[in-house]
Symmetry: D2
Subunit: 328 residues, 4 copies
Amino acid sequence: MRFGVIGAGRIGKIHAANVAARPDCKVAYVADVDAAAAAALAKSTGATVSAIDAIMSSNAVDAVAICAPTDMHADLIEQAARAGKAIFCEKPIALDVERIRRCLDVVAKTAAPLMVGFNRRFDPNFAALQARIAAGAIGEVEIVTITSRDPSPPPISYVARSGGLYRDMMIHDFDMARFLLGEEPIAISAMGSALVDKAIGEAGDVDSAVVVMETKSGKLAQISNSRRATYGYDQRIEAHGAKGMLSAGNLRETTVEFAGANGIVGDKILNFFLERYALAYRLELDTFVEAVKAGRKPSPSGEDGLAANRLADAAYLSWREKRRVTLA
Amino acid sequence: MRFGVIGAGRIGKIHAANVAARPDCKVAYVADVDAAAAAALAKSTGATVSAIDAIMSSNAVDAVAICAPTDMHADLIEQAARAGKAIFCEKPIALDVERIRRCLDVVAKTAAPLMVGFNRRFDPNFAALQARIAAGAIGEVEIVTITSRDPSPPPISYVARSGGLYRDMMIHDFDMARFLLGEEPIAISAMGSALVDKAIGEAGDVDSAVVVMETKSGKLAQISNSRRATYGYDQRIEAHGAKGMLSAGNLRETTVEFAGANGIVGDKILNFFLERYALAYRLELDTFVEAVKAGRKPSPSGEDGLAANRLADAAYLSWREKRRVTLA
Amino acid sequence: MRFGVIGAGRIGKIHAANVAARPDCKVAYVADVDAAAAAALAKSTGATVSAIDAIMSSNAVDAVAICAPTDMHADLIEQAARAGKAIFCEKPIALDVERIRRCLDVVAKTAAPLMVGFNRRFDPNFAALQARIAAGAIGEVEIVTITSRDPSPPPISYVARSGGLYRDMMIHDFDMARFLLGEEPIAISAMGSALVDKAIGEAGDVDSAVVVMETKSGKLAQISNSRRATYGYDQRIEAHGAKGMLSAGNLRETTVEFAGANGIVGDKILNFFLERYALAYRLELDTFVEAVKAGRKPSPSGEDGLAANRLADAAYLSWREKRRVTLA
Amino acid sequence: MRFGVIGAGRIGKIHAANVAARPDCKVAYVADVDAAAAAALAKSTGATVSAIDAIMSSNAVDAVAICAPTDMHADLIEQAARAGKAIFCEKPIALDVERIRRCLDVVAKTAAPLMVGFNRRFDPNFAALQARIAAGAIGEVEIVTITSRDPSPPPISYVARSGGLYRDMMIHDFDMARFLLGEEPIAISAMGSALVDKAIGEAGDVDSAVVVMETKSGKLAQISNSRRATYGYDQRIEAHGAKGMLSAGNLRETTVEFAGANGIVGDKILNFFLERYALAYRLELDTFVEAVKAGRKPSPSGEDGLAANRLADAAYLSWREKRRVTLA
């Protein structure tokens, strides 16, 4: 499977490396407006630098990995779909839900395989937890609890264009909640504050947020986000059900513990998503490749991307208007 | 300090035993409509069976421990306050907030010492966590997360008269949230379902519930409750702040772990509140006695009781009317 | 059951309080050469100060708790046995194995119930571990591993008269090894050093020690001792068997953990035996009382005391002569 | 750096893959008596199949990775040393200590870089623990405790030619003990039994073993081995010192825990050395390459290999002759 990788930034490098590491795949082309970045990534993966249009129209490309800025995602997906490529796209498809819908219409017409990059579903810990729910380990899921905190806030410039915490950060947790609940939330109530950095508040966003959701059958979910955690990249999940509770916790740098006069000191947790989710990114790419090769619709799908964005919009609305929001 | 214990049921026995165990205290009298229960408790604590009015008017009684049914609490507090007794009363003061207010007015006029039995503040784990927050260990508190689940649901008859989950169960968590936040919540949004037992739903209550709250300065809290946890009495707290996170977890029956072909199996957590909070009840009583002896106003106070009930009412309203509720 | 408590020191106080707390028992008399200590303990337990001979000959005494200095134990046991009392005696019966044998001969002739105070068998964690071995949870025990470290070394004066580390400290671990192995060790090899305090070495003893033992059927045990652990009173056990491993660990002061920039910091472990084994002492006394009331031979018995001392002697010999020692 | 890999079995594949994954290294040639195995490994690493003598004399080979059967190691090391290659050799150099000495004499004369494959030193957990000892975290090391258990016993045929448990399995622990103690053991006492499989005992070996060792300055070490652990590949270390204790534990398959009616069930530990030490093998190879490129003597050295074998011999002697053995 020959890939065109569009975007040679941080996430483009991860996906390109994972493609290159598979014996049955190849990074054929890399495109980026930053010529140096494109050249470097092409070199490290044995690819050729090219332009987006050339990649899209090349017969030597079977799949594209869209790792460009968010505002290009929907256009690129449509272009790739029309060109008959299999598409792996980083989340979100777009910030605007209507734009996502139009994009998915195009994809539906072309029947192009599309997978959206919710990498956390592929974290071996979270994937195992979900698999055990699916196998009935806790019976019906009743309450899902997701904790997700970044080690430190992004630059204000990022906050301004990212759509804000609910859309750029909590979107992962909305997807995870759906993944674990196995049902769509029908109502949401969000609270949030700028406690970490006043400038985030002045930019019209929050850096600390909690959300509750419920599904039609009454299942409940709660999410907690912060843009700062002194102890590292805090990524935890609990699912409580009729037969028990499953939880998946953080990964520590090592298992070393020091017992001394001040207590028992365990190692720090992994500090950021590139470390914590390195394996998840690889398994995500593997899943995409295997699905495309087998002719299966990849999951998480474009519809999963849409659903997460709708929840993010609803959360943002709930926070801004200080009210509970119902989803149609 | 000579106590009159009013109510010889499960909780009355606990408090009476803790009074009797102190060398500086004595259970002088026990009253209960169930004569056999009163006699048994009087015998085991070296006390005399008496009647409520007699206890209230006795010069040989310095303090009363009100462990009678909830609907008697407010009347008994007023009677005891007018009689000049120090008052320890189980939560809640009343189910009706206006009744609580009138009761506290009487207490205020008499200046009687009044402590409300939020026992969890005295759990050594939670008390240590709060003390470390107060000492600045995590800087400003930003997000408080409370998980509280009972091993199994109460009888429907109890649900009918208890005021429901938000008022009989989550009230402890509202008090804990206030204790840890150090600020009053000004808004609340509650969701809840009857997932454990349909009969609870038919009785107009929920058995699974999640709540989010915020304070004026933007601090956030989330609470999760269930009337059933197959793994025992789940009682956990997290407080996330500018400098780090403090957490306090469950207590296991023993430290024994079995490593075998199916994984590493740790012991169950303590199964119910009598075991989990046995020490908390003792420390609570000690705190009451020490405060009264020293002439300090006991804490948690009647006002703490009122505040927790107001939050419970707001949660119930939020759940019933499916909206976010603002507290004046 | 009416007790005479002989010795009003640290351990005497513990046992006396546990006797006094039982509704079916009473501390009738207390004896100690330190009159003030005897008076204080008598007062706190509702007893009367008396003399050893008077206690032994009193018809108002059913049982004696021997908490006097070690060099008095054997004489007191014999005196009590001849007086027909049930006997609870702190370990060891004597430092000299021949003296223990003679003492047990007297006990055997009188058929007096005798229990030796190996309190750790009654620690709920270790007791549960042993019960699970007995119930077959790990199949045949193959390797027992015991770690036992004190927070800080005793005064040199104590080392001089205690018989040394193998006899005053590791004796508990020898008893625990026998308790868990269910077989007698037939060979032992000990190594030890004075690493904590040179003065201990100069006094002819060690403060750090490791031992290996084997039984006739080839079961293995290893013990590790240190007179100093900066992190508290380290008391751990592992039992490895054909079907898995059971372990029992330390108890922490609270469950509170702090996650911060330097890692995850858990609370210290309980710092000394009075805290760690408070419950074990109570259950030990309960076991003695129940056995005597039921007419059962109490366990651990005098023979258990003898066996532990024999192992301690063998360990000391192994260390001093730098050789493996075989037990007859 | 161009490698000749000698031996295309399980361990040869690991080292070859790690060589191939480095951009600055290349597997040039692979040799194995099993032509199919050699061909498969050559194919997967982009190498050419060759013969040992050809590899040794090739100017296109800078280093050899010796992954052949143990009885060929010493000859191959000598041949490679004389041919001026850098040498990475799996442990042990030979089963016979005199043969190891002669081999190291040859290496010393040629000044060829030689590293012996004690992979556990490179496990990130154990490496971090050792680094913290070296940085003074616990002050002087006093007691090192190593637990090492395989999930299941090897075939009897392996036991017969491996030199036995002390030489093929515990040798890793002897190296680890030396690594952590920072001093040479001067005495050892070993006990062992065939508890897992009688056939192992009939073959003259043990499958369960414990050892104690001491150094000149009195530092102590204890090792526990079993050929079977139902719960997986048990690999743990503790180092107790003047300022505290460091420990490093097992790795679990995931962080998922299930809380249910039977307790809290954590995931199994990693089941075998290929999983547990995959990263250690990579870091080991990296260390070898970096040392050779920088002109530094690689560590662990041939002398480390010799020292571990001497301890294994002493342990075997101690076990067989039932006595403490002193090392010169």
